[in-house]
Structure formats: C-alpha cells, structure tokens
C-alpha cells in the first residue's frame, strides 16, 4: 500500500495508522507488515486468494483515521560524539564543511520523528535532521558496526541497536541498549516516537554503558 512520494509527517500518519490497525486487528492471511516512509508492505501467507485479499485490505484502509494530534512519546537518547565512537565525523565534516561542534549542535537540535523501524531488529529510521548535515552513505558498508552507533545517511539519522553490517556515517554512540531480542516490542524507541539527542562525554558513556 503506497500513500505518496515524499517524506512527510502527513504521509507518516497514514502509514502509522494502517500499520497500527493491522497489528491490533490481525488478519489470518497476513504474516508480516513492513512500514516504510510512504508505504506499508503486507506479506500474505501461501493460501490467500488475490481477489479476497484485495477486498479485505481496501476495507482496512477505509477504517483507518490518521489523526494529526497523536500523542507522541518523547525519548531522550544520550550520545557520546567523541572521535572514538564518531569514526566518520571527519568524513561528515569534509562533506558538509561544518566544524565538529556545529555538527554536534545541529544533530542535537533536530526535531526528530521515528518514521518506522526497518533494516534489522529495532533499527529506527529517524527523520527531521538539519539538512546541512546530510551526507551520503559510505561507498562500501562496514562488516561490523558496534551496537549503539549513531549514524547519518542522506537526510536521515539512525541508531544501530545490534552489532550488524552497515553503511551509515557514524558520528557517535549511545550507551543505551535499545532492544531485547526476546521482547522486541518493548524497544526503547518505537515507530511514531519523538527522539531528543543530548551529548555526553566518555566518562558518562562508561557509567551508562549497557552494551556487552
């Protein structure tokens, strides 16, 4: 199901409402739902019939009421922007012509919305970053990005909850653990949340560190 061709809070409300509706009102034929910026991918089981399913999904879309006054959870995320964790800060500095202080200030001052969780377990796609920080992905992804790493790809920012491969520019690391693999529904950051980053130093990072 596609709702348009842009990244906007308005489209996000449609995506959020449909995804939420389908999660709260499970339909037997649906095995997986993947929201994106402007779409919801719906994966069906092997037994569905196209005609019945189209009817069912059209009915579901009619039942959603995207509302503009959604109460959003605000999640504060401490980030250590020290070079030890912000291994691509130089790359972002070169690309954006911003100083390190400017990058950190602008990254902290964004008004952030979690558009969806994608890629791998608990990875939040966060929009609303200052556009002057936009930096393209690395040309070849790293084989291992440590858990908690905070990255930039184009105009998006995100956090790697688990240690996985990844191609985003790493500008810092949060000491908080975002996800429990056995209870992913209780992730610290959920679709539709607002995120507020704040800067911490290496000592504070070590005190708060929840990573193995």
């Amino acid at each position: 199901m596609k709702f348009g061709d842009e990244i906007s809070e308005k489209l996000h409300r449609y995506v959020f409402s449909l995804a939420q509706y389908l999660i709260e009102n499970p339909i037997e034929e649906i095995v997986n739902i993947s929201p994106g910026y402007n779409s919801v991918l719906i994966r069906l089981n092997n037994k569905y019939k196209i005609a019945d399913t189209t009817e069912m999904l059209t009915a579901a879309v009619k039942r959603i009421h995207p509302s503009s006054d959604t109460q959003r959870q605000i999640v504060g995320i401490p980030v250590c922007y020290h070079d030890e964790y912000g291994v691509d800060l130089d790359r972002v500095m070169n690309h954006t012509q911003c100083s390190k202080t400017e990058i950190v200030d602008r990254h902290i001052n964004g008004k952030y919305l979690v558009y969806f969780i994608g890629f791998s377990a608990g990875f939040p796609y966060i929009g609303g970053m200052d556009e002057t920080l936009a930096t393209p992905r690395l040309e070849s992804p790293r084989k291992v990005v440590p858990s908690g790493s905070v990255g930039i790809a184009g105009r998006q920012t995100g956090i790697y909850p688990l240690s996985t491969p990844g191609g985003w520019n790493l500008i810092g690391r949060t000491p908080l653990s975002l996800i429990d693999k056995n209870h992913p529904e209780n992730s610290l950051i959920k679709m539709g949340d607002q995120v507020q980053f704040y800067s911490i130093d290496l000592d504070e990072f070590d005190k708060l560190n929840q990573h193995p």
Binding site: E6, V31, I33, Y37, R43, G118, M191
Partner: protein
C-alpha cells in the same frame, strides 16, 4: 538424546518456516531457504511440516546419532552415506544409535535438508526455531553449528513404515518466474527486454540475505534509489550498478533499491537452490498465473502421495 556434530559442513543452520509477525520491528522472517524441501522432509518423518530441520549449504558435514530414529533427506542431492552405505533422498530412513551420517558436497543445487522424527528441541525465539545469522537470533546459539555441538532431538519415538514420495520432485532452477515489481515502471521496454532475454549468473557473494547476480546491466529511467520501503523475500532489486540482487529469507526488512520484479512464491524454493556460477533466466508471468502456481504447489504438499521404497 541428540545429534552429535563431528563436522558442521560449510554452513549448517537450524531452520523452520520462519519467524513471522515481527517485520514491523525490523525482524526478518528467515526460515528455510527452500521451504518446499523442508516441508516434504518433515512430512516424511511424520512431523508437522513447519518443524525445524538442518539446512546444509554446499557441503553438509558429519553427524552421529545418539538414539535410534527416522530421518529424511530432501532438497538438492548431496553425496551422502550412513556408515559407508549410500542413502536415498525423499524417503524415511531408519537410523540406529551410534551410526554416522556423512554428508559431502552437493551434486546439483545449493541446499539439502536433514529432518528427524520429532524434530529438534531448540528454544523458540519469537515463535520460531530459525537462525537469523546477521543478528545471531534463534536457532542453535544464533549461529551455524560446528564440531562438538550436540543438538537435542525432540520428543518422539514411534515405529514407521518405510515410505518414499511417489510423485516426481522436479525443480528447474534455470528459470525463475517473476511478476512485475512495485517500481516496474521505472524501467523502459529495453530494460525489460534485457531482464527477460538474457541469462544471469549467480555471483560468489551469495548468502541467505540475498543472491547477487551478474549479467547485462539494467538501468532505471528514474532514480537509483527509492524512499526506504519494505522488501519482500524474492524482490528483484536493481542497485546502481544494474546487476540484480534477489532479496532472500534473511533479507533486511526495508531497503532503498528499486524493485523491477518479484520472484513468484512458487519459485522461491528455487532461489534457495541456486549455486554460485549457476545461470538462470527470468520469465514474466501474470499475477493470476503466479497465484495458480502457488496454490498448485500448496495442493501438491497437502496431497502428497507415498509408496513403499
């Protein structure tokens, strides 16, 4: 009561039919790369079709049974012997405590499945025993099995009549049938011609996340990236270099490459059997055709016929 791993082969993982219902939390379904073969294997030993089995890749490994049981081998034909005796595929086989099964290299496709009566006693993670390698989730300690591991058998012990599947099992991996993908209009008729009229070769960087291919370069007439959106297993994605990547069972849940096509559900099992250097062609079919092929495959499994070996 377990299967003792003497040699884990190239990449052997515990897989069932996958971890569904968590894609919106970024969790990929995983599950057997060739679910058709796993399902047949389970049915042959009297299990529910979605029980976990061992999925072996290119080279199987060596295992010792610590109890009498029934097993079956399905999927691609690997060189296999039990204490030196050749073993048949698509049958239930009685094995005795202490016997050693030696599963060598493949003689045709990428994956073979070993299923055991009662399945494997593996802790469910989010409702599934499947292993997701990138995040080390589920399966046996979240990783491929290796020498020294002991994989516990599930609880089941009953005598079985020897049976084999009566119908011929045919899987022609040289053609993957596709339907149009969500960005199909981003590709002009020339690109579509290239996709359908040329052979593609499976590259050496093939894994459970995706199958990379090499062939004629296919270019979009629009952008090389879409706004990040959900990816289904079987999506034929066209990255900037124009070489199709087929997303697969362990795929990331979302991505930004345009999707020219989707491999039909009935042919996903073939993707799991493609080996590096294999050549194949794409063939476009209608949604209606894809649906009838999928339902026919389901009926084949539901109406499986057996005969004496």
């Amino acid at each position: 009561m377990s299967l003792a791993v003497i040699d884990g082969g190239l990449q052997t993982t515990v897989q069932d039919l996958g971890r569904n219902g968590f894609a919106h939390l970024g969790i990929s379904a995983s599950g057997a790369a060739d679910s058709f073969s796993l399902r047949l294997g389970n049915l042959l030993v009297g299990n529910a079709e979605g029980e976990a089995g061992l999925e072996m890749t290119l080279i199987g490994g060596k295992y010792q049974f610590n109890r009498d049981t029934f097993v079956s081998l399905t999927g691609s034909y690997f060189l296999i012997d039990l204490d030196g005796e050749d073993l048949p595929f698509y049958e239930n086989i009685h094995v005795e405590r202490g016997q050693i099964i030696n599963i060598g290299p493949s003689r045709d496709g990428a994956r073979c499945y070993l299923t055991v009566q009662g399945g494997f006693d593996i802790e469910l993670v989010l409702g599934s025993k499947s292993t997701h390698l990138m995040t080390n989730m589920g399966g046996f300690e979240g990783r491929p099995i290796k020498k020294g591991d002991e994989i516990k058998f599930g609880d089941a012990r009953q005598d079985m009549e020897p049976i084999r599947i009566k119908q011929a099992i045919e899987m022609d991996c040289s053609t993957l049938r596709i339907t149009k993908g969500i960005q199909h209009e981003w590709f002009d008729p020339d690109a579509w011609k290239l996709l359908q009229n040329n052979k593609f070769t499976v590259s050496h960087t093939f894994d459970r996340m995706g199958v990379r291919t090499a062939g004629q370069s296919i270019k979009t007439i629009k952008d090389t990236e879409v706004l990040t959106e959900g990816i289904p297993a079987g999506a034929v994605q066209i990255p900037g270099n124009g070489q199709p990547i087929i997303s697969f069972v362990d795929h990331q849940t979302t991505g930004g490459y345009p999707k020219i096509a989707n491999v039909i559900t009935a042919d996903l099992c073939k993707v799991g059997q493609l080996m590096p250097q294999d050549e194949f062609q794409f063939q476009l079919v209608s949604m209606a055709e894809a649906e009838s092929l999928r339902l026919a495959q389901e009926s084949f499994i539901n109406d499986l016929k057996y005969s004496a070996p």
